[in-house]
């Protein structure tokens, strides 16, 4: 069962369709599937819904799909860095569903783990709780949040072997393993495909069972807020 594909286009093109629901890993511009996003832009699939913590910046990340008007709806927690996003949102061209960041992460994991709903304290007493079931456990009030299943997961990892085992690097892990879990199909871009057997089984962050297709490529890995201190 071959999982390694030659290019982002080869890995994605037969999977994409108009109106599909996609989960993307990444936090800000850190650990985003930049090559797969570009391939979706090149493909031209439209009316897409994205579950992604952020929406990129104007010319990088999901931002490039906003510019090309391929995105119908975003499910996100924070979208402050994107002027085109704001324009489309305020003009009503783009639907937005805000999720608390931890709720979004847990909804992805839940769907991947066969859990259709879970209770959380997050958002009780806020607009997030409106219309959701409230329930008491041990005298405290919680709301019901539902698992978030998608058609396609797009993920950025550091290393993969040919069986799909993944390692992430530092804070580029973030939403990537969770996005990987919640999709019917999961496509991953990595910096390096290493020989099967070269990853220690105890160091693998996401087992290959979650990964259907892998591509290797060169990543820009843009930095959003370059902050430094004076050398000592």
């Amino acid at each position: 069962m071959k999982k390694v594909y030659e290019s982002a286009a080869e890995a994605l093109n037969d999977l994409l369709f108009d109106g599909m629901f996609i989960a993307a890993g990444g936090f800000g511009l850190c650990g985003i599937p930049e090559l797969l996003l570009q391939a979706i832009k090149d493909n031209g699939a439209r009316n897409l819904t994205f579950a992604s913590n952020n929406a990129g910046v104007d010319d990088f990340g999901i931002g490039i799909l906003l510019q090309s008007r391929q995105v119908k709806k975003m499910i996100s927690s924070y979208v402050g860095e994107n002027a085109e996003f704001m324009r489309q949102y305020l003009s009503g061209e783009l639907e937005v569903e805000f999720n608390p960041q931890g709720t979004l992460a847990e909804r992805m994991r839940a769907a991947g783990c066969g859990i259709p709903g879970f209770y959380t304290k997050t958002g009780v007493g806020t607009v997030i709780a409106e219309g959701k079931e409230h329930r008491e456990f041990n005298g405290e009030t919680y709301i019901l949040e539902e698992g978030l299943s998608v058609d396609l997961s797009i993920v950025k990892a550091w290393k993969a072997d040919a069986t799909g085992n993944l390692m992430f690097r530092k804070t580029a892990r973030n939403f990537n393993p969770l996005a990987a879990m919640c999709g019917k199909v999961c496509v991953v871009e990595v910096e390096e495909i290493v020989p099967t057997g070269s990853l220690d089984g105890d160091h693998i962050h996401l087992p290959g069972v979650y990964v259907h297709r892998i591509i290797q490529g060169t990543h820009e890995k843009r930095i959003e807020q370059r902050t430094t201190r004076a050398a000592a």
């Binding site: 650990g31 997030i128 530092k170 939403f175 930095i223």
Partner: protein, 208 residues
């Protein structure tokens, strides 16, 4: 006279206890890490998946894979560990993080907090703020006492959409320190050169 940003951060740092795991919000709360008292070890959590955040890197050492929740490049420490966002918020929601120090737009006398949206203005999203205030052991707000029009940000009831209901434990402003208690806010201390009367006069919330 009143506290400046650094003095507010220094005062907030006195909330820290040895061994605590703490989450610091963006803005003045981030400055708190510059004032951690001598002899106290605290571990800073960044909700994008890191325990043990270090200082900004020196120029040339920036790593695109190593950022904090404010998306700034940072460094790691010897004890740093990384994990995914579900675990990051699992430890927040599960009460494993002892304290969050956050900014705010408004705090009500019952502990309600508003810090994520202004209706009719740009809405950027709540990020991790709702999870933090719902989950951590103690919520300390650090903010200016009044807004740019001079109106109190400590209110009888919030006017803005809430981030969390009855979640704030302590408020540190440029004028002093107040706790949320039964019936309203209680003055714990006043800032250097600020009298209790001045603090009361600047506060719309009930002071008990």
């Amino acid at each position: 006279m009143a506290w400046d940003r650094n003095q507010m951060a220094a005062r907030a740092a006195l909330e820290l206890q040895d061994g605590m795991y703490v989450n610091l919000g963006i803005g003045i709360p981030t400055l708190v890490s510059n004032f951690i008292p001598e002899g106290i070890t605290v571990t800073l959590q960044s909700e994008n998946g890191m325990l043990g955040t270090g200082p900004f890197p020196v120029e040339g050492d920036e790593d695109a894979d190593l950022i904090n929740a404010g998306k700034q490049t940072i460094t790691e420490l010897p004890q740093t560990s990384y994990f995914d966002s579900a675990i990051a918020f699992g430890m927040i929601r599960g009460g494993k993080i002892a304290m969050a120090i956050l900014g705010a737009m408004e705090v009500a006398e019952n502990g309600d907090l508003a810090n994520w949206m202004i209706p009719g203005k740009l809405v950027k999203g709540m990020g991790g703020a709702m999870d933090l205030v719902a989950g951590v052991g103690r919520v300390v707000v650090v903010m200016d006492h009044t807004n740019k029009h001079g109106d109190s940000k400590l209110l009888t009831a919030c006017t803005l959409p809430l981030t969390g209901k009855a979640v704030v434990d302590r408020i540190i402003t440029n004028l002093g320190v107040l706790d949320v208690v039964e019936g309203g806010l209680k003055i714990i201390e006043t800032a250097d050169g600020v009298t209790e009367d001045e603090l009361r006069a600047a506060t719309a919330a009930t002071i008990v």
